[in-house]
């Protein structure tokens, strides 16, 4: 991988085993670039095109009743949580923990990511059903 502005200060999040670090970075960068589009769509559609900047309850329910919107918002949730968990992992791995601790951190972040995604989909489904 090419040298970049940050290399002087940071050995990127590569586990002591030497495995997985670059892949994690590639996934972080790819999910980040995808987020530019998904986050852009989310902010513009949820806030900027709406008079007053915020949808009222009925507007949110009607917005989410569109299957295409539902699909894009769901993809946004997955990519965002993926990127955030990889980001926390990169920050924590830079503290230089042992391989065993890093494995525990990775497992905890997978659990946190799944829990966050589960909660987010529950919120989306509850709102979309208009209950």
């Amino acid at each position: 991988m090419a040298a970049d502005l940050n290399d002087r200060v940071r050995p990127r999040a590569v586990p002591p085993s030497g495995r997985g670090g670059s892949l994690a970075w590639i996934l972080q960068a790819v999910s980040g670039v995808a987020l530019i589009v998904l986050l852009g769509v989310h902010i513009v559609a949820q806030h900027f095109v709406v008079k007053g900047g915020l949808r009222d309850y009925a507007q949110v329910v009607s917005y989410l009743s569109n299957p295409l919107v539902l699909a894009v918002e769901s993809l946004f949730v997955v990519v965002l949580i993926w990127h955030a968990m990889l980001g926390i992992r990169a920050v924590l791995f830079d503290f230089g923990f042992s391989a065993k601790t890093e494995a525990v951190i990775s497992r905890c972040l997978v659990a946190l990511g799944l829990a966050t995604a589960g909660y987010s989909f529950w919120v989306i489904a509850t709102i979309a059903s208009g209950r």
């Binding site: 007053g52 830079d94 230089g96």
Partner: protein, 136 residues
């Protein structure tokens, strides 16, 4: 990537390492970019959970959502929201730069990329704030 070594530091060194993030004196542009990306990234993760917590109100029906909408439309709250946009712009555009440079695109001009990313963030931020307060 020039180095893939991870140094295991003792706990006190780690604490000092965390505090050192806040010290921007005599830093190279590279470390300013790194610290900026890291701090904005972590702030955005914090906001993600706050946002998800607030969205719970939508599952409780129109009444609780209407109450919270009044708070969101308060000008002081709008100021905080605009900061969120600023963090997204800085982290997102700097992240795009990192993704490009990390894959070998424009490595020799990375300082110019960084300056461009920050300038574009600043300009877009001004536009967003003006739009938020209904000036444009």
């Amino acid at each position: 990537m020039t180095s893939t070594t991870v140094h295991t530091r003792p706990t006190r060194g780690r604490v000092r390492g965390v505090l050192a993030y806040a010290n921007l004196r005599r830093r190279h542009l590279g470390s300013v970019a790194f610290v900026t990306n890291r701090i904005t990234g972590l702030l955005l993760v914090g906001y993600l959970y706050l946002h998800l917590g607030i969205l719970y109100l939508l599952t409780e029906g129109p009444r609780s959502w209407t109450t919270v909408l009044h708070l969101f439309k308060n000008p002081a709250f709008l100021g905080l929201e605009s900061l969120l946009i600023l963090f997204i712009l800085i982290h997102g555009l700097n992240g795009l730069r990192l993704a490009l440079v990390g894959t070998g695109v424009g490595v020799r001009h990375q300082k110019a990329w960084f300056a461009t990313a920050m300038s574009v963030s600043g300009c877009l931020y001004v536009v967003v704030v003006l739009a938020m307060y209904g000036v444009i």
